[in-house]
Symmetry: D2
Subunit: 159 residues, 4 copies
């Protein structure tokens, strides 16, 4: 299994499919491109998941979430991550490694998604208050969706 | 007149007062702090406008907008800035110099404001389609408001 | 003339050729890849100059430098840019729009180049103290070279 | 013990004292300020270590290094972090949460330090090839030192 397959598998184990991220891209971008299809959005997500930096971020972020769930980290940082304290911003910073690569459109979409948490992003964020720790996952998914939106926006303009 | 007074004056000449930015901070943050007053938000905006990097960004961004209005720049970049092409992202990048200093909460609020353009941000963005060029101004105002929101959020937590 | 040709022409008019930037990439990266050729580095620079965001940054940054030279901007920001005050950091921020797209290797190389200013970067930086304003240009060139270095580093690893 | 004391203790356990970071600030900044004392640099480092985001980064980064040493993470990301692969850039991204807060001077100093790895930074980087994992630590120390440099540079200019 290569790095991409592993990252996609990890996302799936945490409840996130490529299709569910593509659906959010479609919901966000169809107002700018009424003819946009879900298939095009799936291709955009797939393009994002080809980048090594994206895969590194996915695997690192989920590894921190899982280590937190298993109580493997030092108690102080453990508690801060588990509660996803409002002033803990390392999860957003990690997600920037995905967002930065896709430029300004990705950046503004990331902020928007991270604040409103629509669809699956809200779902995994809410799960996080129970037994699971999705502190890093929800920002990573927001970042991948935001990058997918930027990819679509750049494609539509023939450059 | 010092740099801060000049930046505030420039903003005012372009239709933006400290009070109008404080009002947006209040609208965004009152749901997290029901007892938040507009006066506290004005103090937060004032705190943001004490930072040298913020003042440099305000003065540089407005200078580019004004040079564009007066047709002083090379025709190619002139046209791109004047139309604020959807793929022109230098205005958002410039605004990052304000947002970065205030951390993750500023970042997500910036994306949110830049996408939804509530209140005065939308107003100056719409003016931009007529005779004025506010390509850089709307992102700068979004960034100052986002930084103000982060300031409020950090204050409320006694650290 | 398309946007890329215009950006390359503008750089040339300010004393910067693709070849001179490729030479810096080669000097920085040959220690990691002894068989690296200057031709490969020229291809990497060319790849960087295919990105729309890079072209926007080049044209915007040089437009600000030229407006400063012609005394077209407001006196306060004019003086700050013309002197390239050590605490004026908008030029570095603008360059981030190039660096961010190429990830961490670009980021560290940018910091290194911007601090040491080797070769042509130092040359245009020194010119800036005379009649010309190269405040934005030297950071833009550092950013393009840093992005070229990252491109080379990523190519060498077959992913 | 509060968060700051814990972060300082953690750094000490990994071989990094405030004094050793202050020494690097002094070495980098004394050329710009010949009268700069080591005590002033220690104060600057202390100022950096007062910021909550810095403490979060220190504790998160060291937690990942330690989890890697103890083989607690999934094998794939474990191996990538343990080897600190040249194309793994999440450590640099995490360090940006410190660097961003201190602006452009911090950014260029960070790139410079991360590339040249002088003094203790090189020492912990070399240790990393043996039994310890310092993949995140060396970038975090570079970032704290770079932020200290920016603090000194901003102080010297009375604003």
């Amino acid at each position: 299994m290569d790095l991409k397959e592993k990252a996609i598998l990890k996302l799936k184990q945490r409840g996130i499919t490529e299709k569910s991220m593509a659906f959010l891209v479609w919901k966000l971008q169809k107002k700018y491109n009424p003819s946009l299809t879900k298939k095009e959005c799936l291709k955009a997500i797939n393009h994002v998941l080809n980048k090594r930096e994206v895969l590194h971020t996915v695997l690192t972020g989920i590894a921190i979430d899982e280590a937190t769930e298993k109580h493997l980290l030092d108690i102080d940082i453990q508690n801060i991550i588990a509660r996803d304290e409002s002033l803990y911003g390392i999860d957003e910073i990690l997600a920037l490694s995905i967002v930065n690569v896709y430029g300004s459109i990705a950046l503004t979409n990331f902020g928007y998604l991270d604040k409103l948490k629509p669809g699956i992003i809200g779902k995994i964020d809410r799960q996080s208050h129970e037994k699971k720790c999705n502190t890093f996952l929800d920002d990573i998914v927001s970042a991948i969706v935001a990058a997918g939106c930027a990819k679509i926006a750049h494609q539509k303009k023939n450059f």
